[in-house]
Amino acid sequence: MRLTAEQVNVIRRIAREEAGADSVVRLFGSRLDDTARGGDIDLLLEIPHAVDHPALFSARIAARLMRALGGRHVDVLLAAPNLDTLPIHGVAVAEGVRL
């Protein structure tokens, strides 16, 4: 996994502040590949309750994380009871590492 302990702490903290202590955040995608370089930070945020205005919610978290992580591009995929489960969610759960 190509994230520093400090970056993981920042992600955990912001995810909990925004989505609650019962949320779970997983890293998936190219940042799991230790042989790759750079790349976006792909996160799956699992929330056990319905999310209002989900597009804005995930955009706001991604923007906060980008700023906190020095401008690195972050994508936040949401999983919540009121949202569809798409193939990408399956991939993110299967390969993702819980932070």
Partner: protein
Amino acid sequence: MTPGKLARLRFLARVVDKECRHLDTTDRRLFVVAMTPVRAASLADDADLAERVEAFVGRFGRLQDTLADKLLPAILSALGEPTGAQIDNLDRAERLGWVESADQWLAIRQLRNQMVHEYMEDMDMLASALQSGHGFVPTLLRAANAMVGELLARGWGE
């Protein structure tokens, strides 16, 4: 202020003026009724609605990019302010009262990624992104007015 800088500022102000009017027009036409998940799902088969959404997303994105990537650095430079990475410029714009919040501006930029209907498979997310975008149109228009107003106040208008 060199003639070249002034000409560029005036050019960008004209571009922003047009982009604001075009965004406003398509925003009013598209959101006569709310963007619901059902309406978002109809984009796949409704070519006219899909084109209207495309126009909205394109115009929304172009105005935000022209403001943050072109006009903002040009005004800061004309004022003798340091310019740097976009986020630093946005922080300055927030302090100067031209944008409401740099963080909100970044969130709006992220939101645009979710407005692209061909990429979005969850209609709740697509509808939510477009409807949120509609809600931020006044935010972009106010930022444009503030920046162009600054030019006029400095006597740099046409």
